[in-house]
Structures are given as C-alpha cells and as structure tokens.
Symmetry: D2
C-alpha cells in the first residue's frame, strides 16, 4: 500500500522493452539519433504544431531549463505558492535563471487565477527596483490533484500575455490532466495560450524521461545551449528518447493515466464514504487529499500503508495519497478497508 508518490513505482514494461529495442548498433550521440527524431515527429503530430522538443531526465531540469529560457536573470516568475517549482525543487529555477524571483500567488485548490496575477502585478511595476514580470507558470494537474479547465488556462494566458509575460505549464502529470479534460494536447496547451510545456513521463511510467516543448521554435538555440551547459544533454540520448517513444506508442501514456485516475477516484470515493473522513478537494487526477482522524492514519501506517501528511489539526490530519499507473487495485481496496477499521 504505497501511496507516497507516483515515483515510488518503477517503469512500465513497454518502456523497459523499448530500451532493449533501442540498444541496437551505433547511433550519433547527443540527440542526433533516429529515436529522438522519431519522438520529435510523434510529439509534433500529437500537438498539431511546429514545436521544439528536448528530452531531459528530470522534471526539475525540464522546469528550470524552460523557465531560464523564458525569463531573464532580472525577471520574475509568477506561480502558485505550493507549486513544485516554488517549494520542491530547492530553488532550482533561481539557479538556472541566474537569480530570477519566484513570486508566490495564493489560490484555491492549488490553482492561480487571472485575478491573483492582476493583484500582484502592481507590486512589480516599480521599475528596476523589482524584478520584471516575465513568466507565469501553472501546474497541470496541480500539486493538490486539481485541474485547470481549458477556459481557465486561456484566461491565465491572456492575463500573462497582456502583461508582457509568457505562460509555462509544468506538466509533470500532463497525461492525468488531459484524460480528465478529454480534450486534445493542442487544446490544453498552445490553443489555450501556453508558450512552453514540461511534458512529464517519469511519474506516469518512464524511468527518467521528460520533454521540454516550446510552441515557438525560436527558443531552440538558447535551450539547446542551456541544456548542454547544465549537464542535461545525455550522450546516449536514444535511451531517453526511447522511453518517450514507447510512452507515446499505442497511447500508453493515456491508458496509464486513465488507470491511475480511475483508481484515485475509487480511492477517494471509498474514503469519502467513511465516517470522519472528508476529501480536502476534488479528485480530478491521480491524487487524493483527505482529512481523517489521526487514529485512522496511524492504523493505516501500522498496516504498512505509506503516504505523506499534508496538514495537521489537533484531532485530524490531511493525508496525500498518490496513485500511480502501476498501483495494484488490491492496494486501493485494502487501504479503504483498513481505513474503515
């Protein structure tokens, strides 16, 4: 019963198999290989747009390199107070950008709003004394398992663009959001105004593969140099690209995400039905946030369940439960049973 993180599980078998398939003969290194070209083609078709695509091995690298490409050292990145870039990456964006400021916005359900952007902007309109607002970054799905609608993304993009800012989407759980919305990748990104995307695969079945995608290919040169300079240009790139290739093949990424989301809903529904348990927010992706009595949480841990506490009250605790593409169905059922007591 490991609900600690979607990183706790390993890799999808199809993705592992793709590594072996890619291990065939010689290839030009540093991304000039056939597998990387194929992935670029697949993603271009998928997003229905000319794009610049760059595989990297971690979500922190994807986010930080994307932000450093979009934001000057003297810029500011507006993001949710609880976003991964704000609180989980050891201030990596500040390092990659050369000292840009991450400006924390509040917002319900882990999501920022055009109103929050508008309210913050005057504090950054004082000339050179404040960093220049340069980028808005949103997380889809968010850190608390919620999802921006296409209309919400569009509204944020408009707010950003009207203020001379670009819009970055941290899509570490892009697939989980997409299958919930039921729209196309294009609709959830550039058609809604997204300028750059961290397209995650690791949490949803890869070993270590993400792709940074720009919908304006003018960023290509700057990004490629930055990726190399940050040590993120893998020499045997075919092995990173092969993960993405298999991830996209036969819609594996979508079926993995659908499975995780469905189990998360089942888990959320099961817990919500228990006395004393309340969901802290809607279950829209693969995360469940639930308030439960402290003895219930303690009993679950005694029986081997793994999960993180997210907030505390005297009598109860809010727990975060993350379901992965590979979480056994039986573990979900057992967790609910154990919570029931």
């Amino acid at each position: 019963m490991n609900f600690a993180s979607d990183n706790a599980y390993g890799a999808a078998p199809q993705i592992l198999a793709a590594l072996s398939a890619a291990n065939n003969g010689t290839e030009t290194s540093y991304g000039e290989d056939a597998v990387t070209a194929r992935v670029t083609g697949k993603l271009t078709a998928l997003f229905e747009h000319a794009i610049a695509v760059f595989p990297v091995v971690t979500g922190t690298a994807a986010n930080s390199l994307a932000l450093a490409t979009l934001c000057p050292p003297y810029g500011a990145v507006f993001c949710h107070r609880e976003s991964h870039i704000a609180v989980d990456e050891c201030a990596a964006p500040e390092f990659f950008t050369g000292g840009a400021k991450l400006v924390h916005l509040d917002g319900e359900d882990g999501k920022i709003t055009p109103a929050a952007i508008a309210a913050m902007l005057p504090h950054y309109a004082r000339g050179v004394h404040s960093p220049k607002p340069a980028v808005v970054s949103i997380t889809q799905a968010s850190e608390v398992g919620t999802i921006y609608s296409v209309a919400e993304i569009r509204a944020i993009a408009d707010a950003a663009h009207n203020s001379g800012m670009t819009l970055h989407m941290d899509g570490a759980r892009f697939a989980n959001a997409l299958v919930t919305l039921g729209c196309t990748p294009a609709e959830m990104t550039w058609k809604a105004g997204v300028d750059a995307l961290s397209f995650g695969a690791t949490k949803n079945g890869a070993l270590c593969a993400e792709a940074v995608i720009f919908f304006d290919t003018a960023h290509t040169q700057a990004f490629e140099y930055r990726r190399k300079k940050a040590g993120h240009l893998v020499s045997k790139m075919r092995f990173i690209s092969a993960q993405l290739d298999a991830y996209l093949e036969n819609d594996l990424w979508l079926s993995n995400a659908r499975r995780a989301n469905a189990l998360a809903r089942r888990l959320g529904d099961g817990l919500a039905a228990l006395p004393g348990v309340t969901l802290a927010g809607p279950v829209e992706a693969n995360g469940v946030f639930a308030w439960m009595p402290k003895p219930v949480a303690a009993r679950l841990r005694e029986r081997g369940a793994k999960f993180y506490d997210w907030a505390q009250e005297p009598e109860r605790v809010m727990v975060r439960l993350v379901v992965s593409f590979a979480t056994p169905e039986a573990d979900v059922a057992k967790f609910i049973e154990t919570a029931k007591g």
Copy 2:
C-alpha cells in the same frame, strides 16, 4: 566501422538486464532506495575508503557538480588546455560554480605537470584581482588517450595541496586507465592524493550513469543540495544506480575496458605498420590518434568509417579513433585493411 566516439555504442546487455531486475515493486525515491545503498557499499569496498557517492546521469554533470562543490565562485580550476571541462562542456563548470575561471595549462600528451602548475601560480597570486587557485583537475585517461602514472598523480596532488588546492579527477574513462596501470582504484585515487572523482560508466557500457565520489565525506551535504538544485537528482534513482550496480558486478567494468583497450592497441599497431601512417601518441587506453595521408582518411570514410579529424596539416590529417567496449573485432580488422588500401 564507427570509431567516432565510445558514446556511439549502446549499453552492455548485463546493464540493460539490471534495469528490468530493478523494476520490481515500490522503492523510496530520490536515492533512498536499496539499489543505491548497494552501489554505495560496492564502491566503498572497491575504493577501500569511506566515501560519499552520488549517481548522476552525465559526465558534464559529474564534473561540474564536483568542481562547484570544491571551488568557490571566486576560485580558479587549473586544467589541461584540451581537457573535456575546458573545451567540451559549453563552460558548464563556469555556470555551476557561479563564475569560477578555468585556467588552461599546456602539457605534452594531454597531461599537465607540477611544473606547469608552478609556472601558472604566480599569475594567480595577486590578491583579489585574480581568482583564487582552488582546484586542479586531471583527466584519467586523458582526452588523447594517455594515462597518468600513479607517481605522476601523486606529484600533481602534492603540487595542488601545497598550494592550498584540491585535486579532482575526471574519470570518464577511469576503467580504461585502471586496467592499463594494473593498480587498485584506491592507488589511482585517494592513495595518490585525489580528493574527488568523476567515476564514469556511460562510455564503458552504461546507458546514462556516472558517480561522483568524494574521499572526504564532509562534502556530502553541499553536494546533495547542489545536485538537487541543478535538476540532477533523479526521482527513480534505482534505475541509475542499477546501471552502476551491474557495471561493477563480476568486474564487468574491467572486462569491458580491457576489451576496448586491447582492440585499440590492435588498431594502433595495425595502423602504425602502414606506410605514411604515424601514431600521434602512445595508445594507453581506448583511443588511437594517428596521422595519415588525407587520401587514406578519405577512402576510409568512403567505405563507411566514422571518426573525427583532430588536427590538420597540408598533406595529412590526425584522426581520432575511439574503440568502445562493444566495437566489433571485425571492424578493427576492416579499418586496418581499408587503410592499407
């Protein structure tokens, strides 16, 4: 006949197999897993010393993170003019350190000497006007396929330490050097005065795995923070560590290196015997540098051989030929035959 790079070949089958073996159940992420612990144990035993070990995915990351840990932003790193950190990493060390200076030393056969260090030091003894000499970095095996003897390393370490500097070894081809010297890993590193090591595995059979090793564990905290902040802490770390685990198992790393070195010597000997062909230096690891008439190089390329030109003269060219753990023996024979004409 691909002699362009040891990165042109894929992964050793044992290492690929280890990925599948590691894909078993859940694990704590971010390096707190059992595989990483096992690798740490293996390397500790191998080096016969308490060490701090950190897997990363590229050699540039290994070198830059190690240097940034050892060198302050206002420091200088002394290295060979042709070293990888000086000319092949897009000034990554300068980025990771926050602006340190790489000071280029000349030296025969791709190697620096205590004399070269001593000759440069006075230029960096002018107070704050010059960066503070902080680290000496050597490459073992060097960029031109040569190897520092243990005594040479010891002499450089003494020169560094006597000037308040530490010694870093870029061991992207550590195994190739070690099997030539026939000494122990300890003898080639800390016993000779090495303070930090980039222990390479990718070029010698891994997909994307290197380890940074400090022989003073006091660097642990600083390194761990820096690795995370640079986006180089892989969440599903077991898949990086599993590569290192298999690499070390049954001395795979040594047998791979021995094979590559032996084929390189065969290639070197075969070429040296040809009229008009001269080796540019000794073949001590898995690289062969040879001057040959330009028509010979052209003929080789026509027949499908891949390799890089390293230097030019009017009538002849110096080519770099890199043999990997997986280069077919037949390709070596064919290359010599083709060169023969």
Copy 3:
C-alpha cells in the same frame, strides 16, 4: 517639502569637505590606503570587537555581498515580507548568492519574530527538496520606521543560531535606530548575536558609502574576493572611506540621526493631532507612516509636497514620509500646516 526618501537630500557638508581633504597626493589603490585603515580602526573601536570592514557604495551591494558570504547557493534567507532585500533590490541577493531563496516572513510593524522563524522552519526541513535555512536578516530600523529592541534582536539571534543559521542586520538606517535605543553599537549588534551588518551611511549624510562589517573575521577572504568579482572594489577607495571617516568623526552620524528622528517625531505628533489622520505605527526612527483622507494627501501634493503612498483604502491613504538629516525644519511645520488645511 520633499519627504519621498532620505536619498532625496544630498551630502553633509563635513563629508563633502572630507573628500577634498582626502584628495592629497598619491595613495595605494583598492583599499590599501591610509584613510581606509583609519576607518577600520574607528569602527573597530566603536564596535569594541575585532571586525572585518569593507566599504562599498550602495546598500544593495552591502546586503547582497554580506548575504552571499553567509549563505550558500542552496541556502535560504529568512526575512520580513516587506524588507528591502525582499522587495526593493530587484532580487539582487538571489543573483549574488547564485540562486538562494528569500523566504518571506510576516510580522507586525515590519519586524519578524522568533515565532515566525519557528513556524517557517518545518517547511524547510525536508532535505534537499527545499533550500537549507542559512541566514536570518533583519532591518534596523525597519522599512516601516520601527526598531527592534536589543532583547528582540537577542531572541531572533538565538532562534537563528539554534537552527544553524546566522544573523544579518540591514542597517541602512543603523544610526537612526541606535540613537533611539540609546545603547552602544556593540549592544545592538554582536552582543545581541548579530553576525554581519550592513552599516549604512548614504541615507544619513554620505554621498555613496556603506560598510559591510563581519564580527567574525574568518569571512575576510571570501568577502574580499566577492566584492572584487562583483565590481564593488573601488580603485580610489580613499574617497569612499573618507566619507565614512567624516561620518564617524565628532559623532556626525549620531547627531544627523538624532536630528532626523526628532523632526520625524515632530511631524508624526503634528499629524496625529489632526482630525482624520492616524499614525499607522509608532514613529521610532526617521519615517512616519500616516493614514490621511485622500483630499488631504491631494492638497499636500498640490502645494508641492513629495511622498509615496504606501497603502490604499477607499476613503483614505497611508503615506510614507521620510525625514532626512537635512530636511529643513520649516518643511516639517509647513507640511503639518498644509495638512491642517
């Protein structure tokens, strides 16, 4: 009636005169001059402690260089949400440190508390995923004209030190705070646990002179290199030091501060007596923050008064009025009269 900033006024005549006096013959450049040595001696005596002293030309440089010396790139600096380093320096500390995080704490009257530090620390106790808490920075006097008591400083220092952090004091208005407390410089700094101080002079009568002071001289080498590398080592240093020399001579710095504080109190008292006007906080240094009806603020501006709005309500506005060492007494009286209407 310029109450916009203490930077709006020029320099004290004694300080200007000192520049001419220093313009005498040749001197060793880059801080090895006699004037700088004299200032170091004066400050050492004044602070009753062995110190490392470094003149610089701006408060932003003083703060950022001090913080970069104390805080690693992967560190965090805890400070008040409205502090100068947080909102008025274009994220300079983030640049100088190489990407450290400024963590904003709330607090009444522009001051942070040990409780606020304690409440924030758990969010930064998650290993490498968050920056390492490294420095607490307080502003004395604060951005809203209030002053930490010696006991408050001591309590914050204890909270910092108990968590492995150091304490930096932004003393851009150090003199204004000191004369209010009536204690010694030593009591307000190292005796209360302060580790590093930005000792301001510009706002209180210099042209462009601040001093960074460390109470642990072990920071000397790192600071000196950083100052040079940031372009803040002035070649003809005697002209910066001469300002500090005159500033300290005959207690000019204290009499300037006393004058400004007294006028600020007079201004505050005068305004507080008016109907519809309320002080937003105590007047403890040279700043007055007052709520007033919008028509009153408008009338003042019509009559030529300069000042900044600090907060808005529908009917009234909170204005910031800063009194400098050189503000004419008549301007204070005229401002009150004009506000009276």
Copy 4:
C-alpha cells in the same frame, strides 16, 4: 615618483568642485535627476548618436555589466590574453554573465586582430559543446599602452559582426587613446563598428565614475535591470553624474589625457636615451613599458619611485610606468635623472 597606477592619484579639482555644486537641494534618486540627464545630453552630443548611457562607479562593473547585456550565459567573449577583463577583474565577467567563457587571444602589442579571431572561431563552431561566440572585446588604450587605429577597430568590428558577434570596447583610458588618434569619439566607436563602450573617467581624474554606453538603445531595459540587480545603481546618482559632467566640461577629459600622454612620451624618450634601457613597445597613451638593468630598477625604488615589474629576465626587468593627469612634471624629470644614475 609614483608611477604604479593612474589610480594612485586623486581627483581633478574641477571634479571635486562639481560635487559641491551638485549638493544643492533635493533630487529624485536612482538616476532620475537633472545632473544625470545633463550628462546624457552631453555624451549624446559628443558621440553624435542616439545612445543609452549608464553611470557606474568602477571599470569592472562597467565592463561586466556591458558584457552581460551583450553575451548570453552560454556565450563566449573573445579578448586579448592580457586584457583587464581576462586577468584583472577576478573573473567578474564570468560572474555577471552567469558563466560565459572568456576566450584568450594572443596578439602583438596588447592588441587582437581579425586573423586571431578567425583562427579561434573554428574551435567554437562545434554546436552546443562549446560556448557560442557572442562578443569581441578590445581595450582602447590597451593594457600595454598601445592604441588601435580606427582602421584596426573597423576591421575587428567587421570580423565580429560577420560572425554574429558584437564589439565591446573597454575604454578605461578612452581619452588617452582619443587624443593620440586625434579623431572624434564617434569615429573611434560606432562609426568604426563598436556596439558598446565602457567610457572611463576614474583613471583620468574622477573619484569613481565610468559610463556604459550602448549605441543601440534597445539594450536600455536589460542594462538598467542588471545594474540594479548587481547593486550598481547608486541612490544619490547626482554625485556620480556630477563627476562625469565636470569631466566633460571645457574638455577637461581631453586636456587631462593630453597632459598625461605628453608626460609619458617625455618619460619614454628620456628613458630610451639611457644606455641599457629599451622601450618594450611604443608609447601611445599614458603608459611606458621599458626594459632596464635590474640595478637601475633597484636604485629607482631606493629613491622612492613606485612602479610594477611586468616581466623578468636574468639581467634586466621590464617595468610598467603609468603617468596620470596629475603626475608632477618634476617627478618625470627626477625619474629619468635617477635612472641615469
């Protein structure tokens, strides 16, 4: 007899007087003052071009901020091996740019050539493995007291622009070069292809004042933010601008430079006439480089002369003698007499 540096002397009396004149009433801070506007106007007229002008307090700041504005973090700056930015600024450009590489070119008489640029470029044409050539920087007058002709500048600018690079001129001794060439400031800069200029004043009579000038005003916003973020936006800017204002008034800058250059020539001629003394290069600005027997140098120092040794041979030493705007004529005569023995 202080010939150690042009920084050893103080300030021109006219410039000191201008500080007092500027100390009059209140001014908007941070560069929005009338004096700064006047200086901008004067320099615009002087250079006969729309320019962006930014006063700063040190040459290192001027160079580094200019380079960081022109060169991305992943870029390379080509400069002479002995240039100030290469060897005298503690790698400040590397810090300000976020890790760019300074590429050292050789060249006679302290000057680089189009041929040297052309010879180096192929080493930086290997894609992302090497930094991207972005800027060429020349020093006028050079570190060894020589001067680029307008035609030489034009040729270098063409070489730079044809390779997609911009041209920066470190004009710490701009006036000394200009009066020798006898051309206009426009002819020596933008008309010859210079894109950005560090316009020095400190060495030639100011206390601490330089100006960064861009001939393309599109750099304005980026530079202004960078200056603030680096702590180089002086609050009471009128006192920096007043120095530049007086420096330009009545051609003080040119007469100061003419005087220094003339004395340097007199010194050079006097020394060259002595037996055993040889000039190491032409005296074109205010520096004299002369080989002399070691006993002569020793005797000079015994009699109180100050100067730096620049190179050593067994029997003789090359000394650097810098003449400033304020060096007494008598000191020049006395130095020659003393050398004569």
